[in-house]
Every structure is written in C-alpha cells, then in structure tokens.
C-alpha cells in the first residue's frame, strides 16, 4: 500500500488486489462491522499447545 515512486506503472500488485477484494468481501458479508469479520475468522483458529524447548546448553555460573 506504499505510494509508488512517480513514473512507475500505476497498477495494484497482486497482494494489494487480494487485500482490496478481501475488504469488499468482508463488507459484503458483515456490512460495516469489520470487527465481526475478524472475530469470526479468529474464532476458528486453533492455538497449538506451547511446548517448552529444553536446550542442552553448557550452563555456567561463575564470578
């Protein structure tokens, strides 16, 4: 979404097009409440169980 330097072809990159289409699609489903879109999307996200990683480091404590 950064303004392109002058002289560059004025066209949207595929990423910008995808975002733009996403904004319109969210509007088509939820109307002006974008928060509802994010709530619905994130409600289905599973958060994996966090596992501590035990590194085998040569630990040292010294003066």
């Amino acid at each position: 979404m950064i303004t392109q330097p002058s002289g560059m072809k004025l066209m949207q990159t595929p990423a910008e097009k995808a975002l733009s289409a996403g904004i319109d699609r969210a509007y088509a489903i939820f109307g002006p409440d974008l928060a509802a879109f994010f709530e619905a999307v994130t409600a289905n996200i599973k958060t994996g169980e966090r596992k501590g990683v035990q590194l085998e480091l040569p630990l040292v404590k010294q003066k």
């Binding site: 330097p5 560059m8 072809k9 066209m11 595929p14 990423a15 002006p32």
Partner: protein, 413 residues
Amino acid sequence: MIVPDPNFRPNPDRAIYVQGTIDQGTVDRLTPEIIKLTVGNRGPITVFIDSPGGNVASAEVILKLLQATNQDNDPACWLITVVTSRAASAAADLLSSGNYAIAYPESTLLYHGVRTPSVSGITVELASLLAESLKISNDRYAMALTRKSEWRFMFRFMGLRGKFAEHRTATGNPRLTELDCFVAMLRENISNKAKPVIDQAYKRYLRYNDLITHFLKVATRDKRFMASAGGGKAYSEGVMLRGIINFEIASNKKNKDWTFQDGGLVRLTDDFYLLQEYFSSVTSEQFKEICGRWGQYVLTEEQKAELAVVPAEEKEAKTLEKVRPHFQPLWSFFVALCHALQEGENELSGADAFWLGLIDEVIGMPHLPLTRYLAEYQADPELPQGPEKNLQPKELPSEFAVSAPQESGNAPA
C-alpha cells in the same frame, strides 16, 4: 478457512538479512543480493531485520534499491519485513517500510528522532541551525512514517470500530467520539511502556484542535484570505501566525510571568509547524485515498443513496465531504502519533507496535485482527452446510452460496 498467500508469508529463499549496525558496509554487502533478487523477478522479497539502526542515509539507499522499478517500469517488488530480535531507530523505520511487516514474539522495536554525532565548537548560530535542521528531519521522518503505516492504522481503526458502541455502554458515556473510543481501546491493548506515546499523541491532537479554532476565527474575518483562497503562501502564513498569537495570549492570560520573550516565541514557532503539519496532512492525496477506500464502511444507507444520484464528475468531492468528518480526527491523531514517536525513546513490544499501526502481525498471536486474514480467508467449499461453519454472514453474497444437495432421480416431480 485460511489459505496461505505468499504475499503475506516470509520466504527465506527470496530474502536479504539486515543485521548489525546499518552503514555503507551494509549497503555494499546487500546491493548485489538485492539486484539478483529484483532483476527478472518481481515476486515478494522478505527482509529479515536484527539491527540497532545506524546511518539513515544507508537505510534509505537499501530501501530505495528494494523499491526500485525495472526497465519495463513494473511496480516495486512487494516487501515483507520481519524483525527477528531487534529493530531500533533506522531499522524500525525499515521494518515499518515493508508492505507487510511482521515481528517475532519477544522482539523489541525502538522508534525515536534523528540525532547527529556531537559537533565540536558549537556556536549560537550553529546550535540554532542544528536545532532547526533536526526538527525538519524529524518532521520529514514523521510524515514518511505516516505514509508507510496509514493503511495499517486504518485497519486497526476499522477492526475496532464495530465495538465502539459496546465501549460507550461499558463506560457509561454515550457521548464519546469515535476517536475517544478508539484511543481508549488502544490503551487497553498496549503495555504500560507504550502508553506515554499515545498520551503524548492525544495531547498533540488536542492542541491541533485548539490552534485550528483560533486560526479559523482570524481567517474567517480576513477578507483577503477568504476571497482568494489563502491570498498567497506568505499571506496565509501570516494569518496562521496571527491565529497562533491570539491563541497563546488567550491560553496564558492567567500567567502574569508569561511573555513571548521568555519562551513564548519558541512555542509560537512550534505551533506554527504544528498547524502547517495539520493542514498538509488533511489536504493530502493520501487522506483522500483513505476516504475513498473506506468510505463504504462509514456512510449510512441514506448517504449512499444521496451519492448514487450525484453526477460522476462531482461524486469524488461529495463523497469526500461526507466521509471526511469520520476520518479527519483519526488521520490527525495518526499524524500526531507519528510525530510523537520521533520525540523521546519509544521502546515497543511487537504487540504494542501492532496496535499502534506500525506493523501488521506478531508471530504467535493469531487472535489479533491480522490484515492478511482479509486476503487469505476463503469460504470452505467442502462443507455442505457452508454458512454454519464458515463465517456467519448478514447477507450471503452469491459467491458464498452453497448449492443445494442434488435431488435423487426418483423424487416426485
């Protein structure tokens, strides 16, 4: 369902690494790598960052190389910037320059103003010149940061806007403005360490408003200013200064020791720049683009119906007129925030930077309202009861409609 889009996913196979202090050595090391990545391939480039910052000119050279067009005049490569551990100062600016900016959890970001290595033999003239030059540089970097992050900030605003009514009810204050609700909700989401910068930005925003009020009082009484849309740059600056002088005198009425000679003149200069920054931001093309893109989200059905019958050549101006009151306070606040980030030392966590609109994603925090969800969300085609497991729509557009199960051949006609 979320379908990964390579435009929003870091890719080490097409990446450069900005590590350590940024200087000419960094430019020398990265230039051949950037050229190899950009010539003949316009795919996204990932920039991994772990840097305390460094020379701003060197950082700009790297960014400009990454954003360069080619001989066919194609758009710049899409940049995904990723801070793995630390992005401070010029490296933080580089991070926010990405089209999609990501922070690893536990990474730290530091935003502050420019500085110059100590200069020996400072005279009064040189000190004054240095102060002026640093101030102009900070203003320039603040506005550049605004341009880099305006869309992110809009996403944060639009992502929370649906909860403003809830916030008004919870606080028992139905008269809170949209900006009041937004700022309060941002404060709830950021760490205590990040709160001073948002408070500083809000203070700056309120000062904009006071200054505007006094400026408008003087401007609307000035026939020449009103008749010729400003009456020339120097003349309109004069009107601006008169408005500020009135404002300063009015606000220091009770302080008998206050004079222009003892500090007031310095304040007047600051306010002059503040008012300039306000006007240049609200009349900018960027602001108009934002109004155009997000207008449909804030216009009422009645306003949309009114605009539908406006002649095509007047549509843009009329739409701007209706959308401006919604976004102008927000935009001014964001400009104030970007300026506040240039003052003092603002160390932020990834989550703080996300809520302040400086980055797009924090790895390991999938429940944040991430911009990429808009691009990556697709209705699950395999579910026969689509809407039940997909997003619950208010109105299901045709593209999301799920076809009814086929009737068996022996069913009655």
